[in-house]
Symmetry: C2
Subunit: 338 residues, 2 copies
C-alpha cells in the first residue's frame, strides 16, 4: 500500500520529557504509527538515544523521523527562563516545528510549566484567544468529561471562562465525539444565586451564550457521575479537581487491595475477582484518555502525565489526528472571532 | 449510679432537620446517651413526633429532654429570610439554647445555609473571630484530616485563612487528638512561588505564625494520603474538595461493585472478599467521623450530612463532649485575641 505522505497528520513527540523517557515515549510513537496509517511522528531529542530505542521495534520507518535536540528541560527549572535559554531543548525544537507549520501537534510528558510557556511563546495563541487553557479529560461512570482550565494561569476573568466553554465544546464534539456537549460551571451549589464573585459574573454570560449547550452549575460531587461533558472552572479549582480525582482514586484502590489481602478467605476471593475487577477499573482510569490538550493555540499541544506509559502517549497522538482532521483550529478561530 | 446533672455536657439535636428526620436523629441521640454518661441531649422539634420515636428505645430518660418547636426550615428556603422569620423553627430554638448558655453544642442535619446563618446571627461569633469556617473531617489512609473552610462564605481574605489555621489546629489537637497537627495550604504545586493571589499572600503569614505547625503547600492529590492534618483553603475550594471526595469515592465503589458482579467467577470472589472489603472501606468512610464542626462560635455547632444516619449523629454528639471538655472556645479566644 502506498501512503500519501502529504496527507499525513504530523505529530511531534518530545522523546526526552517525563519520568519514563525515552522508553515509553518512543514506544508510544511506534504504537501510534502501527495503529493508524494517517500519522507521521517526529521524535525530538538525542538522536543516538532515540535510535537505540527505535531499534527494538518494527514499524513503517518512513513515518517516524528523528529531529535532533541536544538539550533537555527538567522539572526543577524555572519554565520561562528554561524555554528562553535552552534553544536546543526538545520542547523548544518541537514547538518550533508546530509554529512553522511542519507539524500539527506536539506531545510531551515533560515539565508542565515549560510546555505551557513554550506553547505560548513559541507555538503561539490563535488571534482572539485571551488565554490558552489546559483541559484534561477525567473518567466518569458514563464516559469522560473535560476539565477546563486546570493549567498554570490562575485567577481567571469571566471572559476567559466563556472562551473556555466555547473551546471545550468544540473539542468534546469534534475530537471526543460527544454530540451537543453539556457545559456546566463548577459551583458550591446548583442554585443560580450561589457562587463566588467569579462564578456569579460568569454564570449569566454562559447562560446567554448561543454557541454552547449550557446546563447550569455543577457541584464537584456530580462530576464523576458524568452530569456534564465540559466542566468550566478557574485553573486553581481545576487543578484541585484533577489532582484530587487521582488522589482519592489512588488511595481508595490501595485501601481496597489492603482489604482484599486482609484475610485468607478474602485472598481467595481477590484471586477470583481480580480479572473482572481490573477490566472494570480500566474504564475509570485517567490513562485511557491520553493527555490533556492545551487549547487556543496554533496546533494541538498535548501534555501527558509525567509518569505516562506508552498507551497514554499513543492515545495523545491519536487525539492529534482527530484534532487535525476536524480543523479545530479553524473552528475555534471562527467561533471566538465572531 | 447517680449522675451529676450539672456536670453534663448539654447538646441540642435538631430532630426535624435532614432527609432521615426525625428517625435517625432521635436514634443518634439515644445511642449517644447510652454510650456516654457525660451527655444530656435536648431534642428540638415537634413534641408528639419526637415522643413517638423515643418510645421505641430504652435510655436514661433524665438525660433526654424534648424542647418543642412548631416550625421547620427546609432546604428550599432562602436561609437568611427563613432564620429571621421562623422564630419557632427547630434551628432557631436550638441555637438560642446555645446562645443562652443552656447548651454547649448543637447538631443538625438540616439546611446547611440555615445552620450557618443561625450560627452567626443567633449563637454568635467569638470576639476577634473574623469568619466562622465549616470544617469537615475527611478520611485519609492514615486517619482523617480537617478541611477548613468548606462553608458558604466564599472569597476569603488572607487574615481569615490564618485564623482558620489556628482554629483548625486547636480542634485537631484537642477534639481529634492529633499532637502538634501539621497545617498545609491547598495549592497547585509545592514550590513557594506557586499559587493564586490569595495563596501567595497567605503563605508567608502562615510560615511566620508561631502558634501552628505549618508544613507548606499541599497538592490536592496528597490529601487522601494524609500528608497534613489541617488543610487550609478558601471555602469555594474546600467545598469542591469535600464534594469531589464523596463523588469519586462513591463512583469508584459503584464501579468496583459492577466489576465484582460482572462474571460468575468474580461473583464467587466477591462473596468471599465481601466481609474483609467492607471492614476496610469503613475506615475510609466520611460517616465514621460525624459532622462538620463550625468553629469560632460561642459553642460548637455541628453540621452533619443531610442524609445522616444515627451513627453520624451520635459521633457528632460525642465530638461535642470532647469540644466542651477541652474548653475549645476559651482556647480559641486566647489564641485569636493575643
Amino acid at each position: 500500500m502506498v501512503i500519501n505522505m502529504d496527507s499525513l497528520v504530523k505529530v511531534v513527540v518530545d522523546a526526552m520529557g517525563g519520568d519514563n523517557a525515552p522508553f515509553e515515549l518512543v514506544k508510544g510513537a511506534v504504537e501510534a504509527v502501527n495503529e493508524s496509517e494517517k500519522v507521521k511522528c517526529f521524535l525530538v531529542g538525542d538522536t543516538d538515544t532515540i535510535n537505540t530505542e527505535l531499534a527494538k521495534y518494527q514499524y513503517d520507518s518512513s513515518r517516524i523521523e528523528i529531529v535532533h535536540a541536544s538539550e533537555n528541560i527538567t522539572n526543577d527549572e524555572a519554565p520561562v527562563m528554561a524555554v528562553r535559554r535552552k534553544k536546543d531543548s526538545s520542547i523548544v525544537v518541537g514547538m518550533k516545528l508546530v509554529k512553522e507549520g511542519q507539524a500539527d501537534g506536539f506531545v510531551s510528558a515533560g515539565s508542565t510549566g515549560a510546555v505551557l510557556v513554550g506553547a505560548q511563546l513559541i507555538a503561539g495563541r490563535i488571534r482572539g484567544v485571551e488565554r490558552t487553557p489546559l483541559a484534561p479529560l477525567v473518567p466518569t461512570l458514563t464516559g469522560c468529561s473535560l476539565i477546563i482550565d486546570s493549567g498554570a494561569n490562575v485567577d481567571a476573568r469571566a471572559s476567559h471562562l466563556v472562551q473556555f466553554a466555547k473551546m471545550g465544546s468544540i473539542y468534546m464534539e469534534n475530537v471526543i465525539g460527544v454530540k451537543n456537549p453539556r457545559v456546566a460551571i463548577v459551583n458550591v451549589g446548583v442554585e443560580e444565586e450561589k457562587g463566588n464573585a467569579l462564578v456569579k459574573e460568569t454564570y449569566p454570560l454562559l447562560k446567554n451564550c448561543p454557541d454552547i449547550n449550557f446546563v447550569g452549575s455543577i457541584e464537584a460531587r456530580q462530576i464523576p457521575y458524568g452530569d456534564a461533558d465540559v466542566i468550566v472552572c478557574e485553573a486553581f479549582v481545576g487543578n484541585v479537581i484533577l489532582k484530587l480525582y487521582e488522589g482519592v482514586a489512588g488511595a481508595l484502590v490501595s485501601k481496597i487491595k489492603e482489604g482484599l489481602m486482609s484475610t485468607p478467605v478474602s485472598k481467595v476471593g481477590a484471586l477470583l475477582s481480580k480479572k473482572a475487577l481490573k477490566k472494570t477499573l480500566k474504564g475509570f482510569s485517567i490513562e485511557e484518555y491520553g493527555g490533556a490538550p492545551m487549547l487556543g493555540l496554533n496546533g494541538l499541544i498535548m501534555k501527558t502525565h509525567g509518569n505516562s506509559k506508552s498507551i497514554e502517549v499513543k492515545n495523545s497522538i491519536l487525539q492529534c489526528i482527530k484534532f487535525s482532521e476536524s480543523n479545530i483550529t479553524d473552528k475555534i478561530k471562527r467561533n471566538l472571532q465572531e
